[in-house]
């Protein structure tokens, strides 16, 4: 049957292109660049050009829609950023906040992602439902996350978190102004950020867990390794690279921190000093205060940091390739 049908199907197609095959060949020559060009043009205009422009603008004193022409000032934006006390204090503070965020979030979130992945990797009845609940925050935009958590963190006894803590401590814990007080603001941002993004990392770790060969576990249990020893000697080495990957993308996320902080600071519901980040500074300086040149210099520094992290990531991955 099939042998009969095939020639019939092919018949109308085959003769038509044959005369065109020469044209098709010359078409081939340009097909490659032609296929690639829309994306390459898009990347050139919307990624490469503004990236280069950031470097250029950082050498100027420049404002948007200003009657005064842009003035070349060399490295002044950079030197001011680190020496002018008005600027350097705020910028240093923002950098420090990003580093603090990274130092806490990277280990916590990586360990949590691993723990959660192990937790849901067992075949138990109802696991699908538990997984669904844990994955849910994944689809929440950060802007919405910030709004929900703003209510959870509300100060006073009517705030949800305060009420829960008060209930479980029997009233021993007094209510906090979680976002408004400098000592808890960054921590509160951290918790909401982890809530929103840890399932992303967890899914990555879960995939890695499931790719560890089961024979390794069988061999380990023949050697009478207990569950914990198996975990430390089989699981962790087996997914080491994934853990490095997760830690590094989390580091980069930490430096990109913007949406939650900016939204909350605009509504005046978060302590600014302790939560300001490099990105919120860039937008405050370049957009809200129209100091484009200064913000461009900050952007360049931001990019240097991201590049360094990315290079470390590549190096770490390459190292595993060698081993």
């Amino acid at each position: 049957m099939t042998t009969q049908i095939q020639p019939i199907q092919r018949a109308p197609i085959a003769p038509r292109p044959r005369p065109r095959s020469k044209a098709g060949l010359s078409g081939h020559k340009y097909a490659g660049p032609l296929f690639a060009s829309p994306a390459l043009i898009g990347l050139a205009i919307f990624l490469v050009a503004p990236f280069v422009l950031a470097v250029v603008l950082s050498f100027y004193r420049v404002q948007l829609n200003s009657p005064r022409p842009a003035r070349f000032i060399g490295f002044e934006q950079y030197t001011r950023l680190f020496t002018d006390p008005d600027l350097s204090a705020a910028f240093g503070h923002a950098l420090l906040n990003n580093f603090t965020f990274a130092v806490i979030v990277v280990p916590v979130q990586t360990v949590l992602a691993l723990g959660l992945a192990v937790l849901v990797n067992r075949k138990l009845r109802g696991m699908v439902i538990f997984r669904t609940f844990i994955f849910m925050p994944l689809v929440f935009p950060l802007a919405l996350t910030a709004v929900i958590w703003r209510l959870i963190y509300s100060r006073g006894d009517e705030g949800l978190l305060n009420a829960i803590l008060g209930f479980f401590s029997g009233g021993a814990l007094s209510s906090q102004d979680w976002l408004g007080s400098p000592s808890t603001a960054l921590g509160s941002i951290i918790v909401m950020s982890i809530w929103q993004s840890v399932s992303f990392q967890m899914i990555i770790v879960l995939a890695a867990l499931q790719s560890v060969p089961t024979e390794l576990y069988e061999a380990a249990s023949l050697d009478r390794a207990n569950k914990w020893q198996q975990f430390m000697n089989v699981t962790v080495p087996g997914i080491r690279n994934t853990l490095i990957f997760v830690a590094l993308i989390t580091t980069i996320f930490s430096f990109r921190l913007f949406d939650q902080v900016y939204l909350l600071s605009r509504s005046g519901s978060v302590d600014r000093g302790s939560t300001e980040t490099v990105m919120t500074q860039i937008i405050n300086t370049g957009f809200d205060n129209n100091n484009v040149g200064q913000a461009a210099a900050m952007t360049v520094i931001f990019m240097v940091i991201i590049t360094v992290i990315a290079i470390i990531q590549r190096a770490a991955v390459r190292q595993r390739g060698g081993v």
Binding site: A39, F135, V139, P141, F167, I203, D259, M303
Partner: protein
């Protein structure tokens, strides 16, 4: 039953069974606590959206589903009733249009580029592909401000909200890894049938690499639906305001109507949650493949 008995040691089987049962119970307990942590904010959002605004912030009773009504939803639409405030339906349409354009555009443009890099021979390919790989490390945040400077003349348009996000280096890379796995015989067969590169790609390659398209579509959708930084810079007119920016402004109104804010948030997320619940497996697969390939 008999099989499992032969494989497990018989000595002390009873106590082992008991500890195993305890372990399972403990496992369920931890799972429940964890699931609650992730689900309670979602529950709070949805239940709160049906409760009177004044009872949203009222301690633990904020969790109790009482006095439910649609008043907040009506309130959102009554509140957003002029060109100055914008309309909820308008925000939704802007978000849907921009997201659709970005997802559709990025599927076409990036897959074509990736196919070219993965399967075609042309001069300069290697250098350009290396450049694309390097570009994957530049996050949008690093170019947001200069891009705003470049396109400040196009502020408050729909087009400028979508166009910069269509070409995406990481999407090209993801497609590339998928296309590398396509067996060469398939293209060869298409070529012998007289198909040119366009027909080969659209009629032969795309149908067999659907998972790649689903992956990129989901990841692009999630990023774009929640996009906030770019609209902050580019949109001040309420008529072209997308949902993330709209909710950040709506939650700031005085006096606060928290029930309405949660109703807004619920309408913002419930369609996405519904899609997620139906296609959860695809969401998970796309995220894990984004890491394995990357």
């Amino acid at each position: 039953m008999t099989i499992s008995r032969t494989t497990t040691p018989t000595t002390g089987g009873g106590s082992m069974k008991r500890t195993r049962r305890w372990q399972t119970a403990l496992h369920y307990l931890i799972l429940t606590v964890v699931a609650l942590f992730f689900f309670l904010p979602v529950y709070y959002l949805i239940v709160g959206s049906f409760r009177p605004s004044r009872q949203v912030l009222s301690g633990l009773s904020g969790f109790v589903p009482t006095n439910l009504s649609l008043d907040n939803y009506v309130g959102v639409f009554e509140h957003l009733n002029s060109d100055a405030t914008g309309y909820f339906s308008q925000f939704a349409v802007v978000s849907i249009v921009v997201t659709t354009v970005v997802v559709a555009g990025s599927l076409i443009v990036n897959s074509m580029a990736a196919y070219s890099f993965a399967r075609m021979k042309w001069r300069g390919k290697k250098v350009l592909f290396l450049l694309v790989i390097i570009l994957t490390i530049i996050p949008f945040e690093a170019v947001a401000l200069p891009l705003y400077y470049m396109f400040s003349g196009q502020r408050d348009t729909i087009v400028i909200q979508a166009i910069p996000f269509i070409a995406n280096a990481f999407s090209i890379f993801l497609f590339y890894t998928f296309f590398l796995d396509v067996p060469g015989e398939i293209e060869e067969a298409a070529r012998l049938d007289g198909a040119g590169p366009f027909r080969t790609f659209f009629q032969v390659i795309i149908p067999i690499t659907k998972p790649a398209f689903a992956t990129v579509a989901i990841l692009t959708f999630l990023a774009q639906w929640g996009s906030y930084l770019w609209p902050v810079l580019m949109v001040s007119d309420a008529t072209v305001r997308p949902l993330p920016l709209a909710i950040s402004i709506f939650q700031n109104q005085q006096p606060p109507e928290w029930g309405q804010v949660l109703a807004f948030g619920t309408m913002f997320i419930v369609p996405v949650l519904a899609v997620f619940l139906i296609f959860q497996r695809w969401f998970v697969a796309s995220i894990s493949s984004s890491a394995i390939k990357g």
